[in-house]
């Protein structure tokens, strides 16, 4: 049924059949050398398409990120697709862009660059090759559908591209930086009901785009990101742009300097669209606890999710059933997922980048602690914070990491060793890899679907020749309580500077300095922040310090040593779930308090921060509800490149579907039109 052509005017989509099969979301086997083989569990579907050529590899997530194209593709190029017996598996595959017959036409034209970093999706290349100039894009396209062709030229074509693709398009003049920026800004406007952005710096972004345009005209582009719109979580300092941490305490605070990571992106010519929403001071795992309100998961409005919803869900209660993004970098995740930007920065202290990445179907990279500068990142837990990267594919994450990584004299905790350049070699053979499956991660709260996907992923590695072993991280269960002590202690310390004197909120009380402090902090922080400050100060009291803080530090060491032992035993990569389940509706989520939610949300991700290791969420498949489920890969410290290489291999194997968003969002927009989302200030 997904072969029904996308029609913006269509009133809706028929409900999906065969919903029970939804956990079979892995791609069916392909004859290609690197295609996954699941003879045991997957219904074998011998492909009726051109075999993948060894030399031209599937683009994977580099492919179109937009709902239109796969459908279009499916409709145009795969007409014989068995509509009647459309299972969840093939439905998903149907959405996949990378494995289409059209590529055959490209053979020899775009070969992957030998370093393995270039792989433009074949269909995209086809478009580029056929219609090198957007102005000359023929109305009567060989795709046989003028409407589609027009759409291809529209926002979403460009907005769904990978970084390499959009960079190439900019270079070749397919689109200008200003046009691209405008498209993103209008996309932000269209999706403002998601509440992904706190501040949209429209004027500044356009100015940056204009400057980028001038550079392109002179043929002096700064770098691969020149002219590419990005978004930054609102806890990174941005010179001249309000940085709030979603807290009253910093409302109106305009930093006079750029965080190092922000500066590095700007130095590459990236266009900074705005600042994305989060939990107040990044304390949360839902992006629901900031003063600007919760972030909505774009997948709430995806065709995949809507179609899977039970029939008794009607339009009426749709608004109350939207899903959380996860957090605390939920705004960044929503921004990337909804195609408002090409990459976004999050921060990751206990899983704040990987968690929303998992729930929003994105790649979320937490680099090794010390690889990327924290200067300018408003801290949560200094010893665990890492700037995180949210992108739609692993290759994009590697590109951004390559720009961000490296020593920063302003951050003494960054490595002084040379790093990068994070160009990912193509992994052809995983037989030398050893994948560890930590047995302690089989926790009671883990949903059976996630559990099943996790074992499928393990099987996938095994079937491709990798050694998959069960390993033990015995101190995992202490991670949450240990994190609680260490996190709150650092929070208590870090938040001490917010006293209303130098910057940020100040109350009207002026009886005494002490009274002013107390009132300012009471007014400025929400309950979560105040609660953590209180606990943290309790743990740091002289009489408690040894019993709590010192003990927690010792446990942290044990947790870190667990990883060291496992990696020393020959394991290269650990494979775990990222979250307990797929995204839950907001109304469900807020039934628990922030602490419980954070403990649950961070359960698989937190200990990685304790150990400072690199970890990445790779979206694997859709759940029975049509929502993304991601898995986490964890690597040795400073083996980010290896981690990304394996992640990309995995990404290619699983062929996660693209969110199908457009028409539903169009519908939703009218719903939200009357809503006043004052938090989104389009300046």
């Amino acid at each position: 049924m997904q072969s029904l052509c996308f029609n913006p005017a269509a009133p809706g989509f028929p409900p999906l059949q065969n919903q029970n099969n939804i956990n079979l979301t892995l791609k069916s086997p392909r004859p290609a050398p690197f295609a996954p083989q699941y003879p045991r569990r997957m219904p074998t579907r011998r492909p009726h398409r051109t075999p993948v050529q060894a030399g031209v590899r599937a683009g994977g997530r580099d492919g179109p990120e937009n709902s239109i194209l796969p459908n279009l593709h499916e409709a145009l190029l795969n007409p014989k697709h068995d509509q009647g017996s459309s299972t969840a598996a093939n439905r998903v595959r149907g959405s996949l862009p990378g494995d289409q017959p059209g590529r055959a036409t490209l053979r020899g034209k775009r070969r992957p660059i030998q370093d393995g970093c270039a792989h433009v999706t074949p269909w995209q290349v086809a478009i580029l090759d056929l219609f090198p100039l957007r102005s000359s894009f023929p109305l009567s396209s060989p795709w046989g559908n003028e409407g589609r062709a027009a759409e291809l030229r529209g926002n979403c074509t460009m907005l769904g591209l990978s970084l390499r693709e959009v960079s190439a398009a900019l270079k070749q003049g397919q689109i200008s930086p200003v046009e691209l920026c405008r498209k993103c800004l209008s996309r932000i406007r269209e999706t403002r009901f998601l509440n992904a952005y706190i501040t949209v710096s429209e004027d500044k972004a356009l100015k940056q785009a204009e400057e980028s345009e001038k550079r392109y005209e002179k043929g002096r582009a700064l770098g691969i990101l020149d002219g590419i719109p990005i978004a930054i979580k609102d806890n990174f300092s941005t010179a001249g742009i309000e940085t709030t941490c979603a807290s009253h305490m910093l409302k109106g605070y305009i930093p006079p300097y750029n965080a190092t990571v922000v500066q590095k992106l700007l130095d590459q010519g990236a266009v900074l669209l705005g600042k994305t929403n989060l939990d107040e001071f990044a304390m949360g795992s839902g992006s629901t606890d900031g003063i600007f309100g919760p972030v909505r998961n774009p997948w709430s409005y995806s065709r995949q999710y809507r179609e899977k919803r039970k029939p008794n869900h009607h339009r009426v209660d749709e608004d109350s059933n939207w899903l959380i993004t996860g957090g605390s970098s939920g705004g960044s995740a929503a921004a990337v997922s909804a195609f408002t930007c090409f990459a976004a920065l999050g921060s990751d202290t206990g899983g704040s980048t990987r968690n929303p990445a998992a729930l929003c179907g994105l790649v979320g990279l937490k680099p090794t602690y010390g690889l990327v500068s924290r200067y300018g990142l408003i801290p949560l837990v200094n010893s665990m914070d890492v700037p995180g990267i949210l992108t739609r594919c692993v290759d994009d994450a590697a590109i951004v990491l390559g720009i961000l990584a490296g020593h920063d004299v302003k951050d003494s905790t960054t490595t002084q060793d040379p790093v990068g350049p994070f160009i990912l070699p193509i992994l052809r053979d995983v037989s030398k890899l050893c994948i560890g499956i930590p047995k302690e991660y089989h926790t009671p709260g883990l949903s059976s679907e996630t559990q099943a996907l996790w074992s499928k992923a393990a099987d996938l590695f095994e079937s491709k020749g990798a050694k998959v072993v069960e390993v033990s991280l015995p101190h995992t269960s202490y991670s949450i309580v240990c994190y609680h002590v260490l996190c709150t202690a650092e929070v208590a310390s870090n938040m001490a500077r917010f006293d209303g004197l130098e910057y940020g909120h100040r109350c009207n009380v002026n009886v005494s300095t002490e009274a002013m402090y107390a009132a300012t902090r009471r007014e400025g922080f929400n309950d979560v922040v105040r609660g953590r400050i209180l606990s943290g100060n309790f743990f740091l009291l002289k009489e408690n310090y040894d019993d709590y803080f010192v003990k927690a530090q010792k446990v942290r060491r044990l947790i870190a040593n667990d990883f060291v032992k496992v990696f020393n035993s020959g394991v290269d990569i650990l494979l775990t779930p990222t979250t307990l389940s797929d995204a839950v509706p907001y109304v469900e989520f807020i039934k628990e308090d922030n602490r419980t939610r954070s403990a649950q949300g961070d359960i698989f991700t937190q200990s990685v921060n304790m150990a400072g290791l690199p970890a990445i969420n790779v979206p694997m498949a859709l759940s029975s509800q049509g929502l993304p489920v991601g898995l986490q890969l964890i690597g040795r410290a400073f083996s980010d490149q290896q981690l990304l290489t394996v992640a990309r291999w995995f990404e290619e194997q699983v062929q996660f579907p693209v969110i199908q968003l457009q028409e539903l969002m169009d519908n939703c927009q009218s719903i939200f039109q009357h809503e006043k989302l004052t938090s989104v200030s389009l300046k």
């Binding site: 910093l250 010893s383 650092e490 208590a492 910057y503 310090y545």
Partner: protein
Amino acid sequence: MAAPMLQWARAGRCWLLGPCPRRMILLFAEPGPGRVRGQSSAAAQEPRPGAQEWAAVVGLEIHVQISSNSKLFSGSQVTFLAPPNSLVSFFDASLPGTLPVLNRRCVEAAVMTGLALNCTVNKKSLFDRKHYFYADLPAGYQITQQRRPIAINGSLTYSLGVGALWSPSATKTVRIKQIQLEQDSGKSLHDDMRSQTLIDLNRAGVGLMEVVMEPDMSCGDEAATAVKELQLILRALGTSQANMAEGQLRVDANVSVHHPGEPLGVRTEVKNLNSIRFLAKAIDYEIQRQIKELENGGKILNETRAFDEKLGCTVSMRDKEGKQDYRFMPEPNLPPLILYDTESLPMGADPQQVVNIDRIRESLPELPSVTRERLVEQYGILPEHSFALLNEDGLLEFFQNVMKETRAEPKKVIGWILSTFLGYLKQRNLAVSESPVSPSSLAELLSLLDDKVISQPAAQQVFEELWQNQGKSPGQIVQEKKLELLHQQEELEEICQAVLDQHPQEVMAVKKGNHKVVNKLIGLARRATLGRADPVKIKQILEKQLQ
């Protein structure tokens, strides 16, 4: 942070009050109003029959501002008396997201100071956060070294008395518990009229060394002498200007009293000591106060007291309710500070990135105690003179410059410098560097004196002239004022004969055997030469003529 260390002080290391201050002649003490001075000894002067003697225990915490171009963790400049808030980086103002970056110079200064104070320099030291809310502490915490400071277990030797009473036993040693690197705070200016507080963050984040001295001292004089010696060492090293008036050296004293053999008493902390003189006075006052309080059946509170310069006493500072819990925790943004020696230095290490303790040890300048020994040996001057030379900033250099250019004996030079020259400076409240008389002028003057070109009184006259009229050399002044000694025998004989002729009565008296009258005649003869004759010579001539 000396609070706990007082409790662990070595038993039996406390001194009786009596003998200590009486024996010494303070090198630096200026005559005070006398009300407080010497009170510590007074406490033991008249022990009531049967009453036990009191012993006082004094420990010091000294905050030394490191002399560096930029602050401890930021690139802001360090300058005294800059316009308010003109030297404040984003980090100093604690803007969120900023991080500390350790200043290499401050580390080297601390290592240097540690070595000079015979400390063990820790190859690995750690930074901690000490939390308290105060308006001039923007981050809400101070970065310090609580758990593992950069240097530990040192000692400082100081000499209490010199001169006639000088003896090696007056040389004392105070143990240095530790030296830690930490941030200075900003300054609060309280405007009571408008009930507002103004904050200047220029000082916020300046590098400090906190030198913690064990409670090995027993009176104000000991403490003051130890601090003076520390000051000299710091200046010799160049690690601090150590100027108390400018707040580059701040001393807090922990004081308690007890009966010898009994556990230490409750201590008080005395703050607000901004000169060495007041430090001694405040400690002695505090010892006295505590003894009186205890003898009257009172109790000593563990409190902070401030010294009131005008009243000459310590007063209780309103302590913030309850005890402060600083909630120390490790500073997560600074990795452990690793220092190397030549042996442990990693191969190919960037010299800009490592601090080599051995290299610093090799480059240590001469320390004051060594300088003094050298002066005594080299110039044959008295030990107390060597102290005096070092105690005045720039005086040693002045002395050495004079010595380079003059033919005069070092003993003569030192006499002139310590009495005449220093006297002039003190009278006019000038520093050595502000002296209108240059070392070479003084050297020339002393050479003239030494060559007997002029007499001692004439030399005084020339010095006065030099002080008043800059630009003239001593030679010029001598010529203009005709101050040269008369050397020609005939001329002098004539003058003497004239004197004898004019005073027959005196001549008669001498001849009758009253030899004291000769002195009168000598005086008359000298007056006749306008002081330009050598009295010894005149005496010889007169005696000859009288025979």
